[in-house]
Symmetry: C2
Subunit: 232 residues, 2 copies
DNA sequence: CCCTGTCTTTGCGCTAGCGCAAACAAGAAC
DNA sequence: GTTCTTGTTTGCGCTAGCGCAAAGACAGGG
C-alpha cells in the first residue's frame, strides 16, 4: 500500500498541515496490516506508535481488573488512535485496539511525533482541539451513564453510532449498523440480554430492523424521542 | 490580590514557562473573586476565559436536560478549569463551575490564550499532556460506572478524593474530606440515600468516621479492598 | 436560647435490570 | 447436505439499588 500526502489530508489533525510536513510524516511511519480480531495494541503496552486507521474498522476498549470490558470508541478510516499513549514520553496505552475486520493503519513513531509537535504548532493545536472533543464526549457519556436509564442510553448510543459510521442503505433510508448485541452492551454499560430484549421491543414497534450483528434504524426520530425520555 | 510569576509556576501547565511568558500572562488576565455557591460560569455560556483557581475550592459539574447533575471534578488552588471551552474559538463551556467556598481565580482571556499557544509550543505541549490525563481519568470513571457496582464506585471515589484533596489530620492519620452525601452521589452516579446507607455501614465497620458534610477515612486499606471487589 | 433551614438516617415497598439456562437461528467449514 | 460455532431470543427468579416519607441531628442567626 502506498499513501500520498493527499490521503493524509483526510485526517482531521492534518487538515492544516503543509505538503512538506505530510511527506515527512509518511517518511517516518510504516503501515501495519492485521487481520480481523487481531490487535494493534493492548492496554498497558508501552506506546511506541500513534496510529491512523487506513482501511477496515476497529474498536477501542478498556477492561477492568476482572476482565469486564467497555467500548470506548469505534474507529473508522482516517481516524487517529493511540494518541493518549504516544503523545507523552514513556507512557503506555490506556486502552486496547482490536480490528473488527481486516484492517491496516499508518503507524507514526512516537519520538518523531514529539519532534513534529514542537516544530509545527498548528498541528499541535489541531490535535489539542481533537482532544477537547474527546473529553467532551467522554464527559457526556459519563453523565448519560450516571443519570439516564438503560433505554435512553441505548437509544443515544444507536444515534451516535448512526452519525459516526452509518451507511445509508439507499432504498429504505434506513441506516445500517454492524454491531452485535454484546458490542452495544459494552458501549452502554449493560448486558447483552437487556439489549436483546430492548431491540426486540423496538423492532415490534417498527423503529428498527435487526439481524445477526446488524441493526437497521428505520425511524431515527423514534429513537430520539426515547433518548430524551419523552416516551412514558 | 497580586500574583507573581512565581505563583504561576505552581500551575502544572506553566511549569516550563519562562519568566517573560508568565509576566505576559499576568498582564493579560484578571482576578475574579466570587462567594460560596456563586458560579464562575455555566454550562452553555460562551467561553471567554480560561480560569486558574487561586484560592478557595470549586466544583465542575454537568447537568442533563431535566436537571439531574453529575460532578466531573473538584477544583483546588492552581488547577486550571474552563480550558475545554477557551481553547477552541467561539465555543461554549461544556460544564458549570461553582464555588464551594469563597474563591478567587485568575481569568485568562481566550483570545490571548490562542496567541500564546501558537508562540509557546512547550506550553501547548504541556496543556495537551494535561488533557490526555483528563481523557484517561474520564475513561476510567466511565469504565467504573459501566462495570462496577455502587459499593466499589463509592470506595474508589473516596480514594480518589483523598488523593486529590485530602488533608491529613495529624493525630489520627485519618484523611478528612468535606463533601455532603449528595456530592458523593453525584460523583458516583447514585443517590444520596444509598450513599448514606453505605457510609453508615462502613462507619459501623470502623473504616471511616462521618459527620455533617464530613467523611474521615480511618482505614484506607479497607476501602481499597472494597474498591477492588475482594470483599464478599 | 430557640428557631429555621439544611443535611442525614432509616424503614419500607417496589421495580429495572441482571444473569442463568435452554432453545433457536444463521453462517462457516467441510 | 451435515456439523460446528457463534450469536440471539426468551422465560424465569432474584436482588441491588431507587426513592418516598418521616424522623432525627447539626449549625447558624437573631
Amino acid at each position: 500500500m502506498n499513501l500520498s500526502p493527499k490521503d493524509l489530508k483526510q485526517v482531521v489533525v492534518f487538515q492544516n498541515a503543509t505538503e512538506d510536513e505530510l511527506k515527512l510524516i509518511l517518511k517516518n511511519s510504516i503501515i501495519r496490516s492485521i487481520e480481523e480480531n487481531e490487535f494493534f495494541f493492548f492496554q498497558g503496552d508501552t506506546a511506541q506508535y500513534l496510529y491512523i486507521l487506513v482501511t477496515g474498522q476497529a474498536k477501542l476498549m478498556q477492561s477492568n481488573t476482572n476482565g469486564q470490558q467497555v467500548n470506548l470508541r469505534t474507529l473508522h478510516p482516517w481516524q487517529m488512535f493511540g494518541a493518549l499513549g504516544a503523545v507523552r514520553a514513556e507512557s503506555s496505552y490506556p486502552a486496547t485496539a482490536q480490528a473488527l475486520e481486516d484492517s491496516s493503519a499508518l503507524a507514526i513513531e512516537s519520538g518523531f511525533l514529539h519532534k513534529m509537535l514542537e516544530t509545527s504548532p498548528h498541528i499541535a493545536f489541531d490535535l489539542m482541539t481533537l482532544m477537547t472533543s474527546y473529553i467532551q464526549e467522554m464527559q457526556a457519556r459519563f453523565r448519560e451513564l450516571a443519570t439516564e436509564k438503560v433505554e435512553q442510553r441505548v437509544a443515544n448510543a444507536l444515534i451516535r453510532l448512526a452519525g459516526q459510521s452509518g451507511v445509508k442503505s439507499n432504498k429504505e433510508a434506513g441506516i445500517e449498523l454492524s454491531f452485535s448485541r454484546q458490542d452495544v452492551a459494552e458501549m452502554t454499560g449493560t448486558t447483552l440480554y437487556t439489549i436483546s430484549r430492548l431491540l426486540s421491543e423496538w423492532e415490534r414497534q417498527g423503529l428498527i430492523k435487526t439481524g445477526r450483528e446488524k441493526i437497521q434504524i428505520i425511524k431515527p426520530h423514534g429513537l430520539v424521542r426515547i433518548a430524551e425520555g419523552l416516551d412514558k
